[in-house]
Amino acid sequence: MIEVRNVTKKFRNVTALQGLNVSFGENRIYGLLGRNGAGKSTLLNLMTNRLVPTEGFLYMDGFPLTENDKALGKIACMGEDTLYEPSVRLRRIFEWTAIFYPGFDSAYASALAEKFGLDVRKKIGQLSTGYRSIFKLILTLASGAEYLLFDEPVLGLDANHRQLFYAELLARYSKRPCTVILSTHLIEEIANLIEHVVIIKNGRILLDRPSEEIQSMGFTVSGRKEAVEEWCAGKNILGSQEIGGLMLAHILGEHSGVPASLTVTPLDLQQLFIHLTNS
């Protein structure tokens, strides 16, 4: 388990994370969501020790994570940046990764490269945005690590490759259970993939819950404007939309006692996210 305890991260006078507390348990698939600049990447970089917290501590199975090679070897992170020298060939990087991650599965990496149509004889500088993402995805999937962290995994990937990635991720997870943290803006695509949702807003945890509970957190009622307004009075309204005489209201809480004249529809993760993180 990775535990983040009271972690604050400041960059000069900008506070990226503020007193953050969150844990990531074993063998679960997490969704780490937040708007641009919310602090998702900062959190991932702290968990891989690419950054050091200003205050607070991070633990892996109870031991401090910072400067702890044994703990860090259990984590593989696909970051946003590509830090490899552009003239290096991909297969060479596979060889290097095998040195850093003893569990690196070269045969699996090659098989994945073939499935994605990635030519490992190419140099890293020759890759398109999508194939750079694919290359980093393969490195992380094949790392053999127990914790796989993905920061915007499908950046630049077409629909076919995104579906292939989700399928391969689930296959890897089923074959060798691991903890997966997916940080992405494509919420709808991962909504049913994840078991637990963590939402960050302005450097703080806004929501930390099993996905199962999300649907029961809120709902949408629609109907004649007056009827909706009357029924919604005093309820916890996340947001509303009006089209002519029709009104939709998104409400937080259990739905009970909704009159038959109003229609109730579920609130999905994406809608909940949008309404919770709107400033």
Partner: protein, 123 residues
């Protein structure tokens, strides 16, 4: 098989229903193996725990049984069990909603009955 992610019906229940439908229509006969959790989860891109919940529900209902180290199989008599259970909920699921829609459209119960007879004859 198709999962409707927008319907509001929990995904694990949809998985269970779809497997039941396949048993009813004879796609999975008695004592044959049903797709594994991994196969279903990668096919629909859903969390394996969700699939497992649906499959566990069917195992508890006497529709599926587990062969250790092999997978899940259809129980003997599963079809009859599903039919018996679904007959019980047929009224709520179909008859009640049929009558309420008919009322909205101003169709009388007698007209509904004659429509059903007509439909049955044409089938």
């Amino acid at each position: 098989m198709k999962i409707d992610f927008e319907s509001g019906i929990p995904i694990y229940l949809q998985i269970a229903d779809q497997i039941e439908d396949a048993v009813l229509s004879g796609i999975f006969p008695e004592d044959t193996q049903v797709p594994s959790t991994t196969e279903l989860s990668t096919l629909y891109k859903i969390n394996p725990a969700t699939v497992l919940k649906g499959v566990t529900l069917l195992a508890g209902n006497g529709v599926l049984y587990k062969r250790r180290g092999v997978g899940m199989f259809v129980c003997a008599g599963a079809k009859e069990k599903i039919q018996a259970r679904r007959k019980q909920s047929f009224f709520e699921n179909y008859v009640a909603s049929l009558l309420s829609e008919a009322e909205k459209l101003g169709i009388s119960p007698d007209e509904v009955i004659s429509m059903i007879k007509e439909g049955a004859e044409n089938d």
